[in-house]
Symmetry: C2
Subunit: 320 residues, 2 copies
C-alpha cells in the first residue's frame, strides 16, 4: 500500500484497518456498525481506557508502528489482567495527521491485533479522526469468569508481596535508547514491546490474591496506590529482587544503580499482588516484601529495607 492516510480518506483507512482483523470468539459483532457487541459471559465486563500521545508516550523515530501497537495494547490488556480478568476485546480511537503514511496506520493495527491475540482478545471497533499528531485512545474489556475483581484495596497486614513479569527492563532499555545506543537488544526490545504476564492476573485471583496492580508507573509508585487504598504499609527487601547480570552491567556503564530501574521504572507491565502468607505461589512469582499495619499517621508508606525510598519515583504525566 502506498500513499498517506489523507489520500486514502476516512472510510478507505477504516476499510484497510478492519480488513486486517481476524474473527475472535469474544467479539459477537465487530467493526462497521454504530457499536460492537462483545461477549460478557460473567454478567459483568471489566473496562479500562488509556490515552497515548506521540512525543509523550512513544516516538516514531524510536519505535516502529507495529511496536507502538503492541505496546499500546499491552498497556491496556495488562490493566484487565491485573483485575484478575481475562481480556476479551479492545477498541481503538486513533488520531492521525493527513500526511501519515498509510502503512504506519496499518502496521499499528497489525501490532494491536497481534498483542490482542497473545492476550486472547479481539479488536472490536474504533474511530479514526484527523489531527496534528498521532494519538491513540485504547479501551480494553475483560471477563472475570465469575471471580471477584482483585482491587488495590484488599491488602492485609501479614500478606506477602509478590511480583511476576519483568521489572526494570523497559527503564533500562529507555536509558540505553536515550543515550543513542540500540543494544543490549533484550532491554531495548523490552522497552519497545513489553510482555505482560497476562495469564498471571487470573491465576493470582484464583490463588486468593488480596490486592493486585499492573506495574505501569514503577513498582514503588504503584505499590503506594495499593498501600493507600488498603490502609496499610508495605516494606520491600532489596536483596529479594532479581537484577540480571546484564542489567547490572548497563547500570555500571551509565552510572545508574539498576535497583532504581527495578523499583522505579515504569512500562514493564509486570504484575504485583499481595497474598495471605500461607499461599503456595507458582515458581514465576517472586516474594519481595510484606504488608504491615499502617503506622499512625503513616498509612500508605512503601519502604525498602525499612527505610523510605528517596530515589526517582514514578511518573506524574503532568510533571514532565
Amino acid at each position: 500500500m502506498q500513499g498517506t492516510v489523507g489520500e486514502l480518506g476516512e472510510f478507505g483507512l477504516i476499510r484497510e484497518l478492519t480488513a486486517r482483523l481476524p474473527h475472535n470468539p469474544s467479539v459477537a459483532l465487530g467493526p462497521g456498525d454504530d457499536a460492537a457487541v462483545v461477549k460478557a459471559p460473567d454478567g459483568r465486563v471489566v473496562a479500562t481506557t488509556d490515552v497515548l500521545l506521540e512525543g509523550r508516550h512513544f516516538r516514531r523515530d524510536w519505535s516502529t508502528a507495529y511496536d507502538v501497537g503492541r505496546k499500546s495494547a499491552a498497556q491496556n490488556l495488562a490493566d484487565i489482567a491485573a483485575m484478575g480478568a481475562v481480556p476479551t476485546a479492545l477498541l481503538l480511537g486513533l488520531v492521525v495527521p493527513a500526511d501519515l503514511p498509510a502503512t504506519w496506520a496499518t502496521e499499528l493495527m497489525d501490532g494491536l491485533r497481534d498483542e490482542c491475540q497473545v492476550a486472547g482478545a479481539g479488536v472490536a471497533g474504533g474511530d479514526v479522526v484527523r489531527g496534528d499528531t498521532v494519538m491513540l485512545a485504547i479501551t480494553a474489556l475483560g471477563d472475570l469468569q465469575g471471580r471477584t475483581p482483585v482491587t488495590r484495596a484488599g491488602a492485609r497486614p501479614g500478606d506477602l508481596v509478590a511480583v511476576t513479569g519483568w521489572l526494570g527492563w523497559s527503564a533500562a532499555g529507555y536509558t540505553v535508547l536515550s543515550r543513542g545506543f540500540r543494544s543490549p537488544r533484550a532491554f531495548v526490545e523490552a522497552h519497545r514491546r513489553p510482555e505482560p504476564p497476562y495469564h498471571a492476573g487470573p491465576a493470582a485471583a484464583r490463588l486468593g490474591a488480596t490486592a493486585m496492580i499492573d506495574v505501569s508507573d514503577g513498582l514503588i509508585a504503584d505499590l503506594g496506590h495499593v498501600a493507600t487504598a488498603s490502609g496499610v504499609d508495605i516494606d520491600l527487601r532489596a536483596a529479594d529482587f532479581d537484577v540480571p547480570a546484564q542489567m547490572a552491567d548497563i547500570g555500571q556503564a551509565v552510572g545508574v544503580d539498576p535497583l532504581v530501574w527495578v523499583l522505579s521504572g515504569g512500562e514493564d507491565h509486570a504484575i504485583v499482588a499481595t497474598f495471605p502468607p500461607e499461599t503456595p505461589l507458582p515458581a514465576r512469582w517472586r516474594v519481595v516484601g510484606e504488608v504491615s499495619a499502617a503506622r499512625p499517621g503513616r498509612g500508605g508508606a512503601v519502604t525498602v529495607d525499612g527505610a523510605p525510598w528517596d530515589r526517582a519515583g514514578g511518573w506524574d504525566h503532568f510533571a514532565g
Copy 2:
C-alpha cells in the same frame, strides 16, 4: 476551585473529576483501580468509541465545557441506543493542556455526568494525560437486555424508513453561530447540546426494526451506510419531513434551503430505522421513505423523490 490543571497535578485532577460522580447501579466498581467493572446482565456488552478534538469537533469559544461534556457523551450514548441497547456506562480518555483552567475540566465532567444520567448510564472510569490541545476519547457501553442488536445490514425491500428526534437543528444552529449570531436560541442550543432520543433505540428494537443507525453525519450519508450494508436502495419523500417554520425563516435569512440541513446536517443524533410496513409506529416516529430492491449496479443508493441528492453530503473527517 482556582488554578490550572497543571497546578492541580494528575492525581489532584483525577480526584476532583471522580469526586463529582454519583453512584450508578450499572457500575459495580467505579474509577480508582486498574479497571472498572460494569454490569452486563445480558451476557454481552455493546461498546463504541469516539474521539473529539478541540478545533475540529468543538470550539471552546462557542461552547461551554459543560456543553462539550453533554454533547460528547450524547454522541456516544446515541450510538449505543441505535443498536437497540440501553446505555450503562461511559469511560473518558482526556487530554488537557497544563494551562487549562481546572474548572473547565470539572465542568466538562459535570456535563458528561448529567448526559449519562439522562441516558441512565454512569461514568465508570478514564485516563487523564497532558497534551497541547483538549481531546476527548469516549467509550460508551450498553446492555441489549436480551434483544438481537439492530445493525445497519437488515433493511429489506418494502420496509418503511422512519426517523425520531431532531433533524437539521444542529446544522441550522451551526450556520447561525458561524455567522456570528447567537439566536434563535433553540437552534443554537440544539447545536451545543443535542438531545438524542435514547429511549427510542430499544423501543424500535422491540417493535421489530430491521436496521437502525444514529444520524451523526447527516441523514442521507448515514442512510447510505444502511443501504450499502443491507444491499438495498432507499428513497426519501421530501414532503414528509418536518421543517419547522423558524428553521424555514433562518434558511430564508441566510439563503439556504432548510432541507439541506434536514437531509445533510450532522450531529443531531436523531435515530433512523427501517421497519416492516405493517409495524404500528408510535407518534414520535415519522415515516419519511421506503426501502426497495437494489437496482442492478446501483445497490446502496439513497434518493430523494426518486432522484439523486446532489447537495452537500455528510462529513468526511479527512476532507475538511
